[in-house]
């Protein structure tokens, strides 16, 4: 199994498209950081205007943590695309290239193949999130240094002591990795269904965009279905930036997301096992 996962990882990382994600993050994150370097003071000033009316405060609020927090907020839509780009290609790409015929005529069970591919996709997804974490936190701390993290919610402002932030980010990135694994699993499922790689990528993005829009619109009818959309739980990493942390809610989100991963993968494996390879 590990041998096959290694082979799948080797294939993933020999493909140009795999690096699109890493490059996109490597370009986007510094752009946001430079923008914050130029405009950050003003936007922070704007964000804290209400606070400034009653309080005087000092300290380095425009720091690597804040930038990372903002980046994590901004990229939860974009990272799924980068994830789908690779995960949607895992099975369908072999169909398109005709290499299913080489792969599936090997003395390796289809379940092992599909599981290995899935794990390889999950590993890619996690590496992508790790890359995002390293770049936004690492570069952010180098450029802006550390400080207290200000988190502004609709009715509260929380400022976390600088020593109280890093672990939250680690957990938040961990959670983000789980969220992105759901995206990867969904793309993987679509990938098992079709014979070209564009379909799964587009379908995955369509599902996520529609779900996110429904999640964001506060209309009763939408709010009623929001609990049934996995995207509603993908932003739960924010719960780590609360005081006190609602671990029960986080655990619930984790379970729901992990359930989705298992369901999507299970369905993909079932389909793949029974699939007639005609390409």
């Amino acid at each position: 199994m590990i041998k096959i996962i290694n082979i799948e990882l080797y294939k993933i990382f020999k493909k140009w498209r795999t690096y699109i994600g890493f490059i996109a993050i490597a370009v986007l994150v510094p752009i946001i950081q430079v923008a914050m370097l130029i405009e950050g003071e003003q936007s922070l000033d704007f964000m804290t205007r209400n606070l400034q009316q009653s309080f005087i405060f000092v300290g380095n609020l425009l720091n690597g943590y804040l930038i990372s927090y903002l980046i994590l907020n901004a990229l939860t839509i974009h990272i799924p695309f980068l994830v789908a780009l690779v995960a949607g290609d895992l099975l369908a790409g072999e169909a398109t290239a005709g290499t299913y015929r080489l792969l599936i005529t090997r003395p390796v069970s289809r379940f092992k193949l599909v599981t290995s591919k899935f794990f390889a996709g999950i590993i890619y997804t996690n590496l992508l999130v790790l890359w995002l974490a390293i770049l936004s936190l690492g570069l952010g701390i180098i450029i802006f240094s550390v400080g207290e993290l200000i988190v502004i919610k609709t009715s509260t402002v929380i400022i976390f002591a600088r020593g109280d932030v890093f672990w939250r980010f680690i957990l938040a990135y961990g959670f983000a990795a789980l969220s992105m694994s759901v995206v990867a699993s969904l793309a993987f499922l679509f990938s098992a269904l079709v014979e070209n790689a564009i379909g799964p990528i587009v379908s995955t993005m369509a599902v996520i965009i529609v779900f996110v829009i429904i999640s964001a619109i506060e209309i009763n009818i939408f709010e009623a279905i929001q609990p049934y959309l996995f995207t509603s739980y993908m932003a739960s990493w924010r719960l780590f930036f609360d005081d006190p942390i609602d671990f029960a809610e986080i655990a619930k989100s984790c379970l729901i997301l992990a359930g989705h991963v298992l369901f999507f993968f299970g369905l993909a494996a079932y389909i793949f096992k029974r699939k007639d390879i005609l390409t």
Binding site: K3, G98, D276, L278
Partner: protein, 305 residues
């Protein structure tokens, strides 16, 4: 230990509208070079895909090496090397790396020497580092054979292995098949839509059409049968007709359209009949012998075209 390497019984595959394979049964024995002949769309590829568990049969059983394919898939596939349709590879990897990956999946020795040896066998050793996407069709076809041989399988399934090759390439493949069969004692299952190709290498064959067996037997028996269909084009058809009506040859006449007389003849009879016409002052403009199987097969493929 059975001598039946492949044992297919009552195999059918129904796609939505089309019955691609219909109640097909066949046996391939150890040491056979088995010709699996049929026009395009006859169900050859579907059958091969079922043999390799790429698609699952709607009905029927497949046993390979005496074991049921469904239950012993991995054991069986470990000892099969195959090319299915056109040779597609991971274009973004080198030929060497492709073989290495596939070899690992087959659970075979993937040492550099072994891979290079296999590449040398198909004449690709000089381009082993090049990405496969830079390969010509012929080179990919050879690489296809390389991957089928890498893990030293007992049974080699080749689906139209000469498609898209130039005559020299075709000849090389044929020689390779004979080498594998004679020197390496491999059993070979060769599908083709060209009778001539099968005739040159196969010992047994079936002709498949519309998903089912039309003709089955030893190539020698089938192709070198006693009678040939021979078309004589003669200068004076009335006289010729009158002449043969009076004797033995009328029994051999199968049909006559205009100046074309088609006889069923034993090979040695052709010259005799020719002489007979000439002696009776009937000019013979052309003699076209045709084996009955060939004619039959041409009809099948003509319909296809």
């Amino acid at each position: 230990m059975t001598d039946k390497i492949i044992e297919v019984s009552n195999l059918s595959k129904q796609f939505k509208e089309v019955k691609a394979v219909n109640n097909l049964s066949l046996n391939v024995f150890r040491g056979d070079v088995f010709g699996f002949l049929g026009p395009n769309g006859a169900g050859k590829s579907t059958t091969i895909r079922m043999l390799l568990s790429l698609i699952s049969p709607t009905e029927g059983d497949i046993k390979i090496f005496g074991k049921p394919l469904k239950a012993k898939r991995n054991d069986i596939l470990r000892k099969i090397g195959a090319i299915v349709e056109k040779p597609d590879f991971y274009g973004y990897l080198s030929a060497f790396k492709n073989l290495e990956i596939l070899g690992k999946l087959s659970g075979t020795n993937t040492s550099k020497n072994k891979i290079m040896e296999t590449l040398e066998l198909v004449g690709l050793e000089k381009r082993f580092k090049s990405k496969v996407k830079t390969y010509s069709h012929g080179m990919k076809q050879r690489l296809g054979i390389a991957q089928a041989l890498l893990h030293d399988p007992d049974l080699i399934i080749l689906d139209e292995p000469t498609t898209g090759l130039d005559p020299q390439g075709m000849k090389e493949i044929r020689e390779l098949i004979l080498y594998l069969s004679k020197e390496k004692n491999k059993t070979i299952f060769l599908s083709s839509h060209i009778l001539y190709e099968v005739e040159l290498v196969a010992n047994r064959m079936i002709i498949l059409n519309k998903g089912t067996t039309q003709v089955e037997g030893y190539v020698e028996d089938l192709l070198n049968a006693n009678e040939l269909k021979v078309t004589f084009r003669v200068g004076d058809k009335e006289k010729a007709l009158k002449l043969i009506n009076e004797n033995y040859w009328i029994k051999k006449l199968e049909s006559q359209i205009e100046d074309r007389f088609v006889f069923n003849l034993a090979p040695e009879e052709i010259s005799v009949l020719n002489k007979y016409f000439v002696q009776n002052d009937i000019p013979v403009n052309a003699v076209v012998p045709m084996r009955s199987l060939e004619e039959y097969f041409l009809k099948l493929t003509d319909k296809e075209a």
